[in-house]
């Protein structure tokens, strides 16, 4: 029973990691850039959710609040790409890494100025509610998180596999030049992807704030862990990101419980290093050796 209980909370946590990892994968899939500010965008989304939903701020209904937060962060992502990231379009991947790290620092600072540095929680309609199945206690928050994540992953998976826009995104990720020749507006596609990843980050953020408390510096380490999740799954694979998130989420509480103290915290990273060393492309690898 104990194990099942740990498993439930691990899965719910893992879903948030998975959602954030989805954001990484989206951007990687479309432009092969890695957004090191993803964790900070999630933090921003969480604070937007708190602002719209909490009674001490705007006091809007939960669904309206989450939609507004997602839209605003989506717009933020679009504008970010349009006015900042497009300036280094075509430069090596590494430039983007540095740029997004710097962006993360800036977002953290701005959030600290606006919302302060005290941990804040989201007031959800299902706060404190639990379902009891036998001896197992399932918080409704966890259930909501799991359902949202599964639904979002399914939608995104079909979006990439079936729609024109999704296929265009995949094409531009494989070879921007060739995609451009085929009439795909590569730059606009990039901006749309950033918007999409902003939306996903906002949803992940709201879930995060519903389950725990959010403060400006939360994004860095959470982002790195989600990143570990994306890498474990293999950057570029949506189901892989979700699976990696779940793995990280499940490994964490179990390692904390059954391994000596101190080892538990680093378990996700050790897992990631092992995956990287043994299967460099992640579990769902998309990298193939270049033939010269």
């Amino acid at each position: 029973m104990d194990i099942l209980q740990l498993l439930v909370s691990g899965i719910a946590n893992g879903c948030i990691y998975g959602l954030l990892a989805l954001g990484f994968v989206l951007i990687y899939k479309a432009s092969e850039a890695v957004n090191f500010a993803q964790g900070d965008m999630m933090m921003l989304g969480a604070f937007l959710g708190v602002t719209f939903i909490n009674t001490s701020y705007a006091d809007l209904p939960f669904l309206v609040g989450i939609t507004l937060a997602a839209l605003i962060l989506g717009l933020f992502g679009y504008l970010l790409d349009r006015f900042v990231l497009r300036a280094i379009f075509g430069q090596p991947q590494f430039a983007m890494v540095i740029l997004t790290i710097a962006l993360g620092f800036l977002i953290r600072f701005v959030a600290g100025v606006i919302w302060g540095h005290d941990p804040t929680s989201l007031e959800t309609p299902f706060i404190g509610l639990v379902w009891t199945v036998g001896e197992l206690i399932i918080p409704v928050v966890d259930a909501v998180i799991i359902i949202t994540t599964v639904a979002l992953t399914a939608i995104l998976y079909f979006f990439f596999a079936r729609t024109r826009l999704g296929v265009a995104m995949q094409a531009s990720s494989q070879n921007q030049m060739a995609a451009y020749y085929m009439g795909i507006p590569v730059k606009r596609i990039n901006a749309i992807v950033w918007a999409l990843s902003g939306v996903v980050a906002a949803i992940a953020g709201v879930m995060f704030a519903a389950k725990g408390a959010v403060e400006p510096s939360v994004g860095l380490l959470f982002g790195i862990k989600a990143f570990a999740a994306a890498v474990i799954g293999g950057l570029g694979s949506l189901p892989g990101a979700l699976l990696g998130g779940l793995l990280v989420g499940i490994v964490e509480p179990f390692a904390g419980r059954y391994l000596p103290s101190g080892v538990g915290q680093i378990a996700p990273y050790v897992l990631m290093l092992l995956v990287l060393i043994l299967r460099p492309g992640g579990l769902f690898a998309q990298i193939s050796q270049k033939k010269v």
């Binding site: 432009s31 092969e32 890695v34 900042v84 300036a87 280094i88 075509g90 430069q91 991947q93 590494f94 430039a95 890494v97 540095i98 740029l99 790290i101 710097a102 962006l103 993360g104 620092f105 800036l106 953290r108 600072f109 701005v110 600290g112 100025v113 540095h117 990720s173 494989q174 070879n175 921007q176 030049m177 451009y180 860095l220 790195i224 990143f227 570990a228 890498v231 950057l235 570029g236 101190g262 080892v263 915290q265 680093i266 990273y269 050790v270 990631m272 290093l273 990287l276 060393i277 460099p280 998309q286 990298i287 193939s288 050796q289 270049k290 010269v292």
Partner: protein
């Protein structure tokens, strides 16, 4: 503007291009040696910090700037160097052997780690080294006999050549110690860069495939570069431990790794000058902000102090502008200014225009 005709092959690899170049560095060296008389104790301490971070930056520059393998985890090797040095000194070793030991330990650990890690490249390497840095944070807590656990260890005073060197009691002596180490390492670094090994590093950076085609053992070059880079960073870590006087796991957070990389980028990847420029910015920016804060508080009545983390934010903004407008970093700016001066009336606007490139996929490597 001077024209130099190269008449011997040595002209290409000489450390100094002629007398004037040598004289410039002699003047710089003289200024640095005279610094204790020119600066107050506080600014001497800051200058010492610049030297230590330059050393760490040099270490990272070797692997990231000159071999093209981006590492986001070099604070881990600073930690290894620092803890090795302090642990050995507390067990009765002299400073110099302990300093050498910290370089060797970091280098050897780096070499062991590099084999599996350097099989990755690009973004995966950055992530793996980032994970390494996070893991070392926790190892620093767990390995209590060496690292003192959560509390950390205090640096004992250094006894060298019959002198007692302490950061606070004899700041000049500590400054000269750091300067000596840095100058030796820099000379070694420049020598390495003009040797066959150094050239193979550059070849690996520019194109792994063509380096391999030219007979460079890519795996060996990467491992050598990574391990030397770790050794230099380990030295910097040991000096940092004596500069800070006490270190624990918090001295080498993953944030330090990230800052170190940003420092190298802001200085200018792929140039030895860059490591120094970056260190100057990283150490002196908080000072500048403190001075600006006093000015604004008194003159304009704007309370900057109400916004914590201002220095990090400004630093980030600087990086942002740098990546967009001047990817070669401060070295690039300096290079342009120098060229403008050398060519005085003849400088043309498009001289350093970047060529447009399109992203090629990294999924096929």
């Amino acid at each position: 503007m001077s024209n130099r005709f190269k008449s011997r092959y040595d002209d290409d690899i000489n450390l100094f291009e002629g007398r004037w170049h040598l004289a410039q560095y002699a003047i710089l060296m003289a200024l640095l040696v005279a610094a204790p008389w020119l600066l107050g104790t506080y600014y001497l301490g800051e200058l010492t910090a610049v030297l230590v971070w330059s050393l760490a930056g040099l270490g990272l520059m070797l692997i990231s700037g000159h071999t093209g393998q981006v590492s986001l985890g070099h604070a881990a090797f600073m930690a290894i160097g620092a803890f090795t040095n302090l642990a050995l000194m507390l067990r009765g070793w002299h400073f110099l052997p302990a300093l050498l030991a910290s370089a060797v330990t970091s280098g050897v650990i780096g070499a062991i780690i590099s084999r599996p890690i350097l099989r990755m490249s690009g973004i995966y390497l950055a992530i793996a080294t980032l994970a390494l840095s996070i893991i070392i944070e926790d190892v620093a807590i767990i390995a209590e006999p060496i690292t003192g656990g959560v509390a950390g260890v205090f640096a004992p005073p250094i006894a060298l050549f019959g002198m007692e060197i302490d950061r606070y009691a004899t700041p000049e002596a500590f400054y000269y110690l750091c300067l000596a180490v840095l100058v030796l390492v820099t000379l070694g670094y420049l020598n390495l860069l003009r040797s066959a090994s150094g050239r193979s590093f550059l070849a690996v950076r520019d194109s792994e495939v063509s380096a391999r085609a030219l007979g460079v053992n890519v795996a060996r070059a990467k491992t050598l570069s990574f391990s030397l880079s770790c050794a230099i960073t380990g030295l910097a870590g040991a000096l940092y431990a004596h500069l800070a006087q006490a270190v624990n796991y918090e001295s080498f957070l993953v944030l330090i790794s990230i800052t170190l990389l940003l420092q190298v980028v802001i200085g200018g990847l792929g140039s030895v000058h860059g490591a120094f420029f970056g260190a100057i910015v990283v150490v002196l920016l908080p000072q500048l902000i403190a001075i600006a804060r006093d000015f604004f508080d008194n003159a304009a009545g704007i309370k900057i102090a109400a916004y914590p983390g201002m220095d990090t934010a400004l630093f980030a903004l600087l990086i942002l502008l740098m990546v967009i407008y001047e990817p070669r970093g401060l070295y690039g700016v300096w290079f342009k200014v120098r060229t403008w001066l050398q060519l005085f009336p003849l400088y043309r606007k498009g001289m350093f225009r970047r060529t447009r490139t399109y992203l090629k996929t990294e999924r096929q490597r």
